[in-house]
Amino acid sequence: MSLAASSRSVRAVYLLTVAGTVLWLAAVFLAPWLAARGAPGAARFIYAVFSSVCHQIPDRCFVFQGHPLAVCGRCLGIYAGFAAGLVLYPLVRGFSRPALPPARIFLLLTLPMAVDAAVGILGVWVSPIGFRFATGLAWGTLLPFYLVTGISDLLSTRNKRAAARVLEKTTPKKVE
């Protein structure tokens, strides 16, 4: 799929995504750190924020400073994978030719996590936390290739539309 996104908008989206990912990952560790430092109110707020995306079952979370992280092992794997994908992005894709990953790569990296999670929820098998982290990591690595590409395409499309509108306004109309 060819995209109209310019190298400049891809770079801008990439840098914003990197900043957002660093903050998000830091917040995951900040919650237990605050709890350990005797700031339960602030810690509780961060745990509450992450509760909308994760079950936060303590047995399934890695522990930091004696308290569970704000998300489970699988979610941490996804976020860590996302960060790893961002590191790989310029090497694999570059900023000048954004394109979405092929469907077979998506299926290949999604399948382990999907199967692991499904059998877990159905009570067939309870996987160890390290395995959850690993399957989440594999899936998360793929996600920046979608997000950065899609958002930069959105920005680029908007810029082009805005430029076209300006051009339309400034071009004198033909008088019949």
């Binding site: 799929m1 079950h55 469907a103 996590m113 929820i121 899609g150 959105l154």
Partner: protein, 171 residues
Amino acid sequence: MNAQKPEYLRPALIVGAVAGLLSGLPFFGLFNCICCLWIVGGAAMAAKLLSSKTPGILKPSDGAIVGALTGIVAALVSTVLTAALKPDVETARRVLDWLSSLGIEQPSNIDSLLERGSSFLSPGWLLLGLFVSAAVYALMGVLGGIIGVSLFARKAAPPAPPTASGPSDAA
């Protein structure tokens, strides 16, 4: 670029409502633990629906828009459902007291659990939860919408239907 803007709202409303319903229901909501399955999957389905209703080729930006809208709708529905299904803490406490009078032992942290559960369902927390989940679900929806475009969208525009005057129109 598509000559006409796709109709984003309809697929977002339909799929977002279903995704929000599934996210807010007990047990089914558990599947959101797989990286917001209902939201990411729902946004991908919204992109599929959008693709089937749009004559041109969808771009990743179209997926991002429909996905974000789907996520916001899902967050609204899910929060309303959570508020509607909120457990009655007082009744739960009475049942526990009754069980206790029968000699059935209660977990030591039951009071703090009940208190925590009721405080998370207060109007303030629900409103905060709505804002947080709308932001997070919108982001996850963007991701799902873009994935949906890559998986389901047409790779080439369908051939134009033949006209009465023949194919020489474009010439």
